[in-house]
């Protein structure tokens, strides 16, 4: 698995050398917010468009939650990355301009938040480029990052992302630091389920989410887990990337919870708090792990299928 053309000092051992972060920080903390509105619900079945109550669950995000989270971040002086599907950007141009004006990064999250597992490559690419164009029209800024709405991309998608000018993605649930997506020129900034609000707090009655309709986790438990994760990120120098949803985290109590947690991160003085784009720019100078599982997947999936 080692590449003899790569000299030892360019390569890291299995498991990776401890990442290095700017300003001598012990770890990186990234805040990312998805503003999906009612699109994930509508993507399940177009016939749901008359189900206004269910749609209003998601619409709380762009209507109310997002601006409350923006206020929290402004009080903290933290810049975040906001993933806004094209259809939401078209419907809420004032919100998108506000996000940009307040110093945040906007990134592509598809056009209609379609599930990639049900799409062929050409449809996945159309979902990405249409969403990118609509977001750019609303924000006035070229999006450089992308997050799959849900599901997995087909072979060739990362290369197409690179060709379209994307520099980074935050789509895979699979690591605690960035890694390159093969030779696509796109860097992956993975998320992790234990750092998501959806996994702990998301709930919908019908159709049920979670499918087993388990109880909403307590904020006390989420806070305790995130505190442990932050301690561990400092110990091992990893990236702690929060994946939040405006309609979930943007209620008054949860926004306060988020503010308290991020305040503790800032007070530690040991974290580099950055946007996805800033992390991607910094990571360009890090040694490449030539034995990363993503490269292994590309080789093995070509053999097996």
């Amino acid at each position: 698995m080692s590449d003899s053309s790569t000299s030892a000092d360019q390569r890291t051992t299995a498991g990776g050398a401890e990442p290095r972060w700017p300003h001598g920080a012990r770890c990186a903390v990234v805040v990312s917010v998805d503003v999906d509105g009612d699109l994930p619900f509508l993507a399940l079945d177009p016939g749901y468009r008359d189900r206004l109550k269910s749609r209003s669950v998601g619409r709380y995000g762009p209507d109310h939650g997002a601006s409350r989270v923006l206020d929290v971040l402004e009080r903290l002086g933290v810049s975040a990355t906001w993933f806004v599907p094209g259809a939401i950007a078209q419907e809420h141009p004032v919100l998108v301009r506000d996000i940009v004006a307040r110093g945040h990064e906007t990134a592509c999250h598809g056009m209609h938040h379609l599930d990639f597992d049900g799409l062929e490559l050409s449809a996945q690419l159309a979902e990405m480029t249409e969403g990118r164009d609509a977001l750019r029209a609303a924000s006035g800024v070229e999006p450089r990052g992308f997050r799959t709405p849900s599901g997995e991309w087909k072979t060739g998608f990362p290369e197409a992302m690179g060709a379209e000018g994307f520099r980074w993605s935050s789509s895979l649930p699979s690591d605690d630091r960035p890694f390159p997506l093969g030779d696509s020129g796109v860097l992956e900034l993975p998320f992790r389920y234990e750092l998501e609000d959806l996994q702990y707090l998301g709930f919908n009655l019908d159709p049920p989410f979670p499918p087993g309709q388990s109880r909403i986790q307590s904020l006390e438990a989420v806070r305790a887990n995130w505190d442990v994760e932050f301690a561990a990120a400092r110990r091992w120098g990893t990236m702690l990337l929060l994946r939040l949803n405006a309609e979930i985290i943007g209620t008054p109590g949860r926004a306060r919870f988020l503010e308290d947690f991020l305040r503790s991160v800032l007070d530690s003085g040991e974290a580099w708090v950055a946007t996805c784009g800033e992390v991607a720019e910094h990571w360009a100078g890090q040694p490449v792990e030539d034995d990363h599982p993503y490269g292994m997947f590309l080789t093995l999936s070509a053999q097996e299928s």
Binding site: S150, E152, D175, D176, Y193, Q199, N225
Partner: protein, 278 residues
């Protein structure tokens, strides 16, 4: 103390034996067996996080405590990460069988089961220079014939069943069994993935610390009765940063009590086998 405890060969009353065990599945399992995995780069990478990222961290934690553990490792993982497998061996850990790609033994004929066991042994010999001595059934159930086939293939022990607080012997074939309980499986509290959904109802990731506290209490209660426990921890699940931190704490706490003997499954099975001849 009851006489059962003495017969079972606990060395000292009021001490627990912890057969410290991990299932190093990597990306093997149902999705690899069906082929669906090759369309799922994210799911593959989540599984591969275990051997690639979590294992070096876990090995450092174990070495920090001077502990040796058993890793039930599908031989596909041994084949793909040979340097890791040799590092584990060099540091005194045990590698034991867990299928080739985490197959479901329950559905297989004798010949199919033997083919998997032999293939795994070949890979163990090739990469590690020695065959495995232990086996833990992957994916739910093993076959009613599996224990017999393992004994005939020269295996000393299995850690597949759930019913017991001490090692016991399979009456028909002499295989030593080190039972491990589902409550010590980290999947039950922490594993999570959407599409494919695990758990099937997508229940929330648990509050970490009470889970580790529960494991500690279960092991200390076993110490009061002089019993054995074994763990079913998955590096890709327990080796993510936050949970690895609490694993480190738990192992330290258990060591500090002075009431828990922590060692490999092979050491526990060998010692029990010597003290309880067939």
């Amino acid at each position: 103390m009851s006489s059962t405890v003495m017969q079972a060969g606990a060395d000292v009353a009021e001490r627990a034996t912890l057969a410290l065990a991990f299932d190093l599945d990597g990306p093997t399992g149902d999705a690899m067996l069906s082929g669906a995995l090759w369309g799922k780069p994210g799911y593959f990478s989540l599984g591969a996080y275990g051997p690639h990222r979590a294992m070096p961290r876990i090995l450092d934690i174990l070495s920090g405590h001077g502990l040796k553990a058993t890793f039930f490792t599908p031989s596909w993982v041994v084949e793909q990460w040979p340097d890791l497998a040799r590092r584990m061996q060099e540091e005194g850990h045990e590698l034991a069988h867990h299928g080739h790609r985490h197959e479901v033994f329950f559905t297989k004929s004798d010949q199919e089961q033997l083919a998997i066991i032999r293939r795994s042994q070949e890979i163990f010999r090739q990469v590690l220079g020695a065959p495995g001595a232990g086996f833990r059934a992957p994916s739910g159930d093993w076959h009613p014939r599996t224990a017999q086939l393992l004994a005939e293939s020269g295996f000393l022990y299995s850690s597949s069943l759930r019913n017991g607080d001490l090692p016991f012997r399979h009456a028909d074939n002499g295989l030593v069994e080190l039972p491990a309980k589902s409550l010590f499986d980290d999947y039950t509290c922490f594993a999570y993935h959407r599409a494919p959904n695990f758990p099937s109802g997508l229940d929330r990731v648990a509050h970490y610390r009470p889970v580790f506290d529960g494991w500690r209490e279960e092991i200390l209660a076993a110490a009061e009765e002089g019993l054995m426990v074994s763990t079913i921890w998955h590096p890709k699940v327990i080796g993510t940063p936050g949970r690895a931190l609490l694993l480190d704490e738990l192992l330290g706490t258990l060591k500090d009590t002075g009431r828990v003997d922590i060692t490999t499954c092979l050491a526990v099975a060998s010692s029990w086998n010597e003290r309880n001849p067939r």
